[in-house]
């Protein structure tokens, strides 16, 4: 867990419940109590109606790949040691999309529409990062 060199998420008041859930290896999203819009990344206000009345709902953690790229060049610390890596845009069952990585899968086997499920990587004592792995069919 030590020696993690990639950028570490900045936890603030809005995102704290999200990261606390990740720490428990659970994926939670904010839902606006006024208009019902789900949102990710966590924000103080609903981007649709600007309401601050928010609840947290648990997601299934399953979704499918909307689009992806296999990154071969990134000289940023941590990333350069893991090239190539799969960067993907995941559409969750609940309809929310997340940027993440696809892991536990050869890059050449990744495809658009592939079913995936969340998997958490404990990067330090405070933070577990949600990534995605192929869902066995």
């Amino acid at each position: 867990m030590s020696g993690y060199q990639k950028p570490i998420p900045q936890i603030d008041e809005e995102s704290k419940p999200f990261w606390e859930a990740c720490k428990r290896h659970e994926l939670y999203m904010q839902k606006c109590r006024d208009c019902g819009t789900l949102r990710y990344y966590p924000r103080a206000l609903c981007g649709n109606c600007l309401s601050s009345d928010t609840e947290w709902v648990k997601c299934s953690g399953r979704g499918e790949i909307y689009t992806f790229t296999v990154t071969y060049q990134n000289r940023g610390a941590g990333f350069r040691d893991e090239l190539p890596y799969v960067l993907a845009y995941i559409e969750l069952e609940e309809g929310v999309r997340m940027m993440s990585n696809v892991v536990e899968c050869e890059p050449e086997k990744v495809s658009i529409g592939m079913p995936v499920e969340v998997v958490f990587e404990d990067i330090n004592d405070e933070i577990a990062l949600p990534r995605f792995k192929p869902l066995p069919e």
């Binding site: 950028p7 570490i8 296999v70 990154t71 060049q73 845009y89 999309r97 940027m99 990585n101």
Partner: protein, 418 residues
């Protein structure tokens, strides 16, 4: 001045309706906006100017533009300078004031505009608006960036900061990665092929090879692009624009004054500026940029023209797939037709709608804060009949600048006024 009808319920309109109303208001010229023309342009060569300072580049471009305009520099009342990241890249802030001072413009207001890679498009628009509104008569717009003195890693990281850094960067999103996501989706959605995408790079390298200010002078083949190394699969090295230094400037004034000062003034007939998605997480589609759609709609409406009226285009090909997406978003081709259009030669210099005759960002290079004005520089030469890769008798040109992950776009439409 025409009388505009201000709706009785103006105070009840929501923000979007008000903006819609103001667009129409401007387009109808009910505000008595003045016509604005470009009377002089100047540029540095686009290259890796490692031995020079950024203020030296902006000074060279500014001096050339003032000389080209043939105007006494004491007539210049304001300066707008597009620059994205001089603090982070070369440790220099206050570049607008420094450039104004170095040019000896006196104590005029000098303002920096920032919209990532669309910073210079915004400088042009602010120059245009302040003249059109009657606030100033003569304004100089400048764009400058110096990138080659930093390592590729630093440049990649600074450019990534143009996206919303909260959540994307922890997963290793880079700008090539972003356009890799776009390319993969465009291929899946519209059947765009690897060869079609490579044709953008082949065409733009071909055009840049004969453009004296372009950075890259080598021709390339479809196979050469296809087989170059992956940067962000399916994006390869020759799908990407190079890290480049450069500066561009131009002098603008009311069109009435321009006709007296200049033999071949070029009129800005349409101008649009809009934001779109500032984070990848906001994107509903990966094959269109809402900022471009809105800025284009504003510019077409103000100019009173349609996409089919445009004769020559300089658009934001930071990556090959961006040229295809942009050409569709600008309404020049149907969605999914951008790839076949470039492959069949329709966008070549001698094609029915030449796109990026300068070589575009891919070959001319992309000093990010200068690019928006470099596009307009090329269009001014094209409309005057003085371009290196001259399109046959163009009357109307369109410049499209895009910043961030679709965060900002400007569109300008230019017309001969001689």
């Amino acid at each position: 001045m025409k009388n505009g009808a201000i709706p009785d319920n103006i105070n009840q309109l929501n923000a979007e309706e008000r903006i819609e109303f103001l667009f129409n208001f401007l387009a109808l010229e009910v505000l008595d906006m003045r016509d604005v023309s470009i009377i002089g342009v100047g540029t540095t060569p686009f290259s890796k100017h490692k031995e020079r300072g950024i203020a030296d580049l902006s000074l060279e471009a500014g001096r050339k533009a003032i000389e080209d305009a043939g105007i006494d520099k004491s007539k210049i009342e304001a300066l707008y300078l597009g620059n994205y990241a001089a603090e982070a890249l070369v440790g220099q802030g206050s570049l607008a004031a420094i450039t104004g001072r170095n040019l000896g413009l006196g104590q005029i207001p000098c303002t920096r505009t920032e919209g990532a890679c669309a910073s210079a498009g915004i400088a042009l628009r602010e120059s245009f608006l302040t003249i059109a509104a009657g606030i100033y008569d003569v304004v100089i717009a400048v764009g400058a960036e110096q990138m080659s003195t930093c390592s590729t890693g630093v440049v990649t990281s600074v450019l990534a900061g143009a996206g919303d850094t909260t959540m994307d960067n922890i997963y290793g999103l880079t700008f090539p990665g972003f356009f890799g996501l776009v390319l993969r989706k465009h291929m899946e959605e519209f059947g765009t092929t690897r060869d079609q995408v490579s044709c953008v790079s082949v065409k733009n390298h071909h055009n840049g090879a004969t453009n004296p200010i372009a950075y890259l002078k080598d021709e390339i083949t479809v196979e050469g692009v296809n087989e170059s190394r992956f940067i962000a699969d399916p994006l390869t090295l020759y799908d990407c624009c190079p890290i480049t230094d450069g500066a561009v400037a131009m002098v603008l004034c009311p069109s009435d004054m321009a006709r007296d000062l200049c033999k071949k003034p070029v009129k800005v007939v349409g101008s649009g500026h809009a934001i779109g998605t500032t984070s990848i997480l906001q994107m509903e589609s990966f094959t269109t940029f809402p900022a471009t759609l809105k800025a284009a709609e504003m510019a077409y409406q103000m100019a009173g023209v349609k996409p089919e009226d445009i004769d020559v285009v300089e658009l934001h090909d930071c990556f090959t797939i961006a040229e295809i997406v942009d050409s569709e978003d600008l309404g020049l081709f149907e969605k999914g037709e951008g790839g076949p259009a470039v492959e069949s030669g329709r966008t070549a210099v001698d094609g029915e709608l030449p796109i990026n005759p300068s070589g575009g960002l891919i070959s001319r290079g992309h000093p990010v804060g200068a690019t928006g004005l470099a596009q307009v520089y090329e269009l001014v030469l094209q409309l005057k009949g003085e371009a290196a890769n001259q399109v046959k008798n163009p009357e109307l040109g369109l410049a499209h600048n895009l910043g961030g992950s679709g965060a900002v776009s400007t569109v300008h439409i230019l017309s001969k006024d001689f």
